[in-house]
Amino acid sequence: MNRRDYLLRKILFAALTLLVVITLNFFLFRVLPGDPVRSVVGRNVRISPETQATLRAQFGLDKPIFPDQFFATIGQWARGNLGISWSLRQPVSEVLIAKLGNTLLLLMLGQLLAIILGVSLGLFAGWKRRTAIDVGALAFSLVAWAMPTFWLGIILLAAGSSWFGLPTGGIVDPRNIGKPLLEVLPDLARHLTLPTLTLTILYLGEYMLIMRSSVLEVLGEDYILTAKAKGLSNWQVLRKHALKNAMLPIVTLIAINLGFTVSGAIYIETVFSYDGLGKLFQTALTKQDLPLLQGAFLLLAVSVIIANMLADILYTYLDPRIRAT
């Protein structure tokens, strides 16, 4: 099979997956117990049964789920319209885009730091096995990995705001809203410090542990012995022979974690009142805001499917074994 056919097949398969996911989600959300109208208006005292009925009709909930509601939704999406959120009364696509940037900023920053620090620490600990450094790093990583997100966030928030005067929530100071990005950059950095630190500590442990064990495994291989026998310095052995092979499991881990990135970090976003996608998903679910919920899951599905597709395509370039099939 040539590459063009392979790609076409992959794209077709991705489109089919998306269609299945959309259909599944549509029905899944409608199986949820409860009444979306009640959820949107809350246990609000002022809404009469008649007004609820009017809203229900407006949302299209008075019609049968299939085929009326289903085809109305699909038709709307086909025209590139995700609809309007019932609880926010804003176009779903706008809401999603507004939050996506924030979430990616926080999570990428945290992931990047966690990867750099975790991998370095793991490499070092593995190399200096059974020294005080190794034991210390190992203990730290195990503790960091095991810590509950919410708890760590609160502790860092209390310490950071009391001792270093760091902000207790939000993305920028309220008085800086609407100012140009360049002007608020220092303020943004201050607001990002604690959530990023929390995220970094939480992921760092995982990367460190995987890296350390991977390094230990690789260091026991014959080719390391050979390299040492050739007279290479410790550093050369580590860099040219051990590191590259030890990185393989880490690369897998990074890929998996990146896949989860778009879904946001509900706990961290909640602790630091950070306006991101994770928090939005939660709100959409508790409010049973179906257009928002469907839009959010569409975004998630598209991201994961595209990431997978890209990976598939990249593999044809990277891995000779895949090319052969």
């Binding site: 009364r89 885009i97 976003e269 975004l299």
Partner: protein, 573 residues
Amino acid sequence: MSNRRLSVYLLVLLSLILAACTGGTATTAPEGASAPQPETTTAPESESATEPEAAPPSEPSVLRIGWLGKPDTLNPAYAFLTESYVIFDLVYGTLTTESIEGQYIGNLASEWSHSEDGLVWTFNLRDGVKWHDGSDFTADQMAWAINAVMNDPDGWAALSNYVSGFSEVKAVDPQTLQITLEAPIGNMDYRLSFLFAVYPKDFESFSTPEDLQNFSNDAIIGTGAFKMNTFDKDKGVLILDANPDFYLGAPKVDQLIFQTFDNADAMVQALKVGDVDMVNEVPSSAFETVKGFEDVKAVQQPGRYFAEMIINSVPDDHDPVPTRNPALKDPQVRLALATAMNKQDLVQIVLQDLGSPGTTLVPPTLGGGFWHNPIQDISFNLDQADQILEDAGYVMGSDGVRSKGDVRLEFRLQFPSDNPLYPRAADLLTDWYSQVGIKTTPESVDPDSLVAATTPTGDYDLVLWGWGPDPDPDFILSVMTSDQFVDGGWSDSGYMNPEYDQLYLDQQVAVDRDERQRIIWQMQEMVFNDRPYIILWYEDILQAYRTDRFTGFKESTLGIEISLSLTQVEPVK
């Protein structure tokens, strides 16, 4: 090999970060068809927005308020959350308003009167009221605002209930408004306190209910003590500036900043370190801690929320037929359930003393003074409860559960899973009841499923739940009327009493306050004696503010964030 793959992954990573920095245009969902709205809306600046004085001697004073929610919208046609109404109270005007003492006083109206038959109400408007854009406020505009709700009740979903029974609203002259009713309305002053004077120009152009409801009204213009500066819903920030021309006197602070916290502990910490100057909702678990903060005053005031135990009262001939233990129909069993309940302990243990024992359906704090204080609550007495059941013919079985014939005193005790207080209350109740031969099985249920199980299915025995009633007793009284036990209605007990229903209608048309109070007291007695609900407790509201920054907060059951309080707040000198 691995090197190449790694660099590809790093490249992907980098591109994603870049995408994040450029606002995430790389991974966008399909764009909606409607026109994009600006993220942040700034109200038109008619005059000096930030500096009310020509030459302020010092920096503008900014009161920062932390809260756990945010307005769902600033459009009163479709606003459902309390937070929206907090902002409306500060920005909009209404003909009447509830005073700190719980009585209704004039706001945009200086005085009002009604005809002998209660059908024609005449309001004299206050002099010199101006909109935030500087133009004069007239009776015509007030009439337009009320007429808008009457003409499009579907669009004005959140306010349409307040105008039911209005037949005509018109301006007699620029200072006088006249409202004609189909039948007398007992709580007119309360209803008018929710009919906001919206700026007609902002609301004139909508042709369908959807158009109206999709309008965000972020540049809200009103006549209130504060005017809109910025509302960024995504970031949870709302900034209001003082209105120097406010008809009751300019506020003493220059700016209010409302900041939303998604996490209560973070908000409490923000108060501690001075990131915010006040919070309008302290979680009960943190209240003791907040009391200990330096330069912080913790405010505890009786509130309007109450919790109740619902006893299934659905009539046997109802369709669908209720599913419950038939013993619950026995008034003596209900009396025993009430007698074996220690409300003092519930308040002390479950609420940690942040509340008071409950008696009647209408909490003492509701506006207008309709609480029925002479009602004597049943005192807690396990021996007496035991005796009541014994006398009623329920025989103690070998397993410690009483029964009469084949009816065992064994009940489901359900509660919604989203409230941390109910499980402890259910445990305490189960313990007391077990001592008198009643077996209750506590069960946490998803709130939506509980709604479905109660109304109108009637498939439950006992349920613990709560209400946050309206300021006027009308709503909470309606919860006990027969016609509310329908799909989408508010009755969960299934209580049906024609006499009560008639009294409910009577109080609606009782224009004389004393007459209305007499009826409402009678209704409270009925509910108390028939026990579709046993009211467990009334919850306090818990707030706090920094005493080193601001002073002058008016502490009341309405909260320190109302306009009547915030207009009096001034910086500490």
